[in-house]
Symmetry: C2
């Protein structure tokens, strides 16, 4: 079943069928009704491939997902879903490209399967971005790169979030605070969030004259427990911590409980993580909820804007969700303050 067959059955030309479908040209009510009936009866849908070829647009965007086996989180799958949904809202489809599979990346770009690309988990120095900067295709990164060349990005303001969290803890009387960061290897790779969180933590702690303790932690529960045990052994006076490591968070909280701390009476925890994760831990963890849906939507909209008008200044969106106070956050213990 194709447009020619519909035209024949309705007794009109193929162009008329096309215009009935697209609405780009007025069609008399009578003809329109006839064509629509035939389409209805036959269940005809135009071929996306043929349309893409004729129009020169695939209405598809590429999404470069992190390589397998690396630091995948629930947030990231949520993000993938939200990109697909936001794209659907704009009548676009999403094609997946696993990072590290250069053939797929090459095919998406070289063979013009996509109109633009979203890159997840961008590093400060990112080979994929270097590659994209040489191509004519618009793209948006999740996370900023160190690239001087301006390009569109959407990022969470880790520096701002960490600063706010430390300030709030200081207001509550906490004087010795730790930062639980992502794994050391990510810092080594210059992963932006780990990098900027650490920097902001150092500065804020210094500015407020607090005792600050940095620790990197692997992305799992067990590492969270160990990390807390080590921290408390080294610095028993610690009364609060800020975590940007969502996968170790429940381990961190359990580690605190295991060493006899009751939250928030003896110890406070503030984290950057998804709302579901923060509330899925007992006690519920205060902090900034990572707005995955909003990030997905912003990225898609920034990309579509760039596709629409490549000359326009690239959108750069820095999201900074507010700090939500939940049961894990309280005043510093009087005895220790």
């Amino acid at each position: 079943m194709n447009i020619g067959e519909i035209a024949r059955r309705a007794g009109v030309s193929r162009s008329t069928v096309s215009y009935v479908l697209s609405g780009k040209r007025p069609v008399s009510d009578e003809v329109r009704a006839r064509v629509e009936r035939v389409i209805e009866e036959s269940g005809y849908r135009p071929s996306a491939t043929a349309r893409a070829l004729a129009q020169g647009s695939t209405r598809t965007i590429g999404l470069v997902i992190p390589p397998m086996g690396s630091h995948l989180s629930i947030d990231q799958l949520q993000f993938v879903g939200s990109v697909a949904e936001a794209a659907a809202d704009h009548d676009h489809d999403v094609l997946l490209s696993p990072s590290g599979r250069d053939e797929v990346f090459d095919r998406m770009l070289g063979e013009r399967r996509v109109e633009g690309v979203i890159v997840m988990e961008t590093l400060l120095h990112d080979a994929r971005v270097s590659r994209l900067l040489q191509e004519p295709v618009p793209f948006v990164t999740i996370g900023r790169t160190g690239s001087e060349t301006a390009h569109a990005w959407v990022d969470l303001d880790y520096a701002g979030l960490v600063t706010t969290a430390v300030r709030r803890l200081a207001e509550l009387g906490h004087r010795r605070i730790a930062l639980v960061n992502r794994p050391q290897e990510l810092l080594d790779q210059e992963y932006g969030p780990a990098f900027r969180a650490q920097d902001a933590f150092d500065k804020t702690v210094a500015e407020l004259g607090l005792g600050g303790h940095l620790v990197c932690c692997a992305d799992d529960t067990r590492a969270g427990e160990e990390c807390v045990r080590r921290l408390l052994a080294d610095t028993p006076e610690l009364t609060a911590l800020v975590s940007i490591n969502e996968r170790s968070l429940s381990g961190v909280v359990h580690g605190l409980k295991a060493t006899g701390r009751t939250l928030p009476r003896d110890f406070s925890v503030v984290a950057v993580t998804s709302q579901a994760n923060a509330q899925g831990i007992a006690p519920a963890v205060a902090g900034a909820d990572v707005p995955t849906a909003e990030m997905g939507r912003s990225a898609v909209e920034a990309l579509l804007a760039a596709i629409d008008d490549p000359a326009k200044a690239p959108a750069q969106v820095l999201l900074r969700p507010e700090l939500i106070e939940r049961a894990s956050l309280g005043a510093a213990p009087v005895s220790r303050a």
Copy 2:
């Protein structure tokens, strides 16, 4: 830059350029070299859209991902990645369709963007599958449906895994065992894994004359803790549990520790979860590692086989990873056995 321009520059016909690219017809060494040089110099890549139209094949498969905000797990993102990688190994791309977005699903199928579809998180009665059964497009479900009509699927043998786990615990002397299942709402929706695990648990426990305790648990850490507390309050003689709920697992283990149990001396835990999750908990949890990569690969291969020969009997792959003994598993405590 298109095939005509390459042909002109190389002084050959467009068909010759096409045959140099596809290798479907012999081309003299001299002509081939000339064409290849021009292609090389110009960086020409054929348009995927034009090729798809001419060949009648998009070389793209659709992946229907679970709706957002529902029970997403790390395993599932891994699975998405492994589908993309397996597809890439067979020169196919992956188009995403968020469940619940019927327009996207309709577009994928109706507008023939994809050659076939993989459906994640299938329910026993699944609207998406009913829809697919009426379409001519091949598809593979992850998880079996209750449909009598045969279709291709890939599933984990939850029944077998639970049975094996219970038997092993019985061998080790455990007499009262609990099953920590997925949330009640999934059972109500007739989610296959939850359903079959429960059924197998009931049967095996009865067969071995053990005391069996069923409990549904929400998909988070806090729920795991509460669930264990409730279980132990009701049945203090419990010495082991089997969990198929990966997201609550660390809470379950911490709950056990919080009630004074030392694993595996006082209590044993066996779980079906990803290897990373099992090993990211202290002590490492024994059980069957969900083989996400293998499931993704099997699904892609089953789908490509169905696309290749729709008449062939659909592949039905039941995976049953072996039970791995880790630190959480041991003999029943003597005092209680």
